[in-house]
Symmetry: C2
Subunit: 193 residues, 2 copies
Amino acid sequence: MDAPFPGSVFLGMSVDGFIARLDGTLSFLDGADAPDGGGAPDRGGDAPTPDDGEGGDFGFGEFVSSVDALVMGRSTYEFIAPFAEWPYQGRPVHVLSTTLPADADGRITVHRSLEDAVAALAGCRRVYVDGGRTVHAFLRAGLIADLTLSRVPVLIGTGLTPFGELAADIPLEHVGTRSFAGGMVQSTYRVRR
Amino acid sequence: MDAPFPGSVFLGMSVDGFIARLDGTLSFLDGADAPDGGGAPDRGGDAPTPDDGEGGDFGFGEFVSSVDALVMGRSTYEFIAPFAEWPYQGRPVHVLSTTLPADADGRITVHRSLEDAVAALAGCRRVYVDGGRTVHAFLRAGLIADLTLSRVPVLIGTGLTPFGELAADIPLEHVGTRSFAGGMVQSTYRVRR
């Protein structure tokens, strides 16, 4: 039997579980200098780099250095695309989209289906799965091995979420939790097989 | 100016933020022996008492001893009502309902509106606000002072939630987080005024 697909999630979210507002903006994450895109886009500059206020980046750089590749949806790609510098340390970026031209951006590989993306990522030891709809699709398909969820101390009421209907409960194992001076609480879980 | 209403929330939930399944059952909380009603109703016995597996109850008893009264919705009341013993240490229980007869149960006071309940609770130093819809209504109305959220390590996909649309963001202050051997992570927040 093949090993389970090694999808890894690293998301900043509000305490009520939203990773972005309904319009895609992330300004609410600023309160605690959140990972994974804290701050409004500053197009042309570097992609938003997390700053935990203690000289670190909430473990984001270490996480990226642990993956072989990234897979994300078109919306997340289009949020990141305008930045001159990506924070992905040269890792290959795979994008799920039925509409983006295959040659849209030399930095990415476009896939028309989740199955195609998974096939292209065969052999990876760890894959960073990003974006609300993509994380949900991979969770539903049993393709997530671990999740690091960083909650910033705010309730925003509505927004985009990586969570949603599942075919069955997904039991988790709590690996660890740490909190930061700004009030962020970061928990890591492994999916139980 | 009056002091803000001292509503306190103490909820067990899945990592994806659900306090019960859509049918109201709580069995998913069993995995980590959750507070606030772990386990299916065992009617006629004691109400479900939390057990953190370390000789404690996740702080539930200490929390209840800190409140002057409880307020909950009809659904939560009807879940608790069949149990011979309530875990509320004799605190008065106020129930929001437009349908329950005023004399339905000598152990409770029925209120027809949130405003009536709040008026009846004037002078309380701390009020335990319970149940998904009631917590959401009190959050929307700015009547929650603090929240203790205990997340059990499972994703369930759909269910009842205390979260939902708000008139504005509710910024929180992280008071503290602790984790338990079974994998529950319990964070306490104060609402910033």
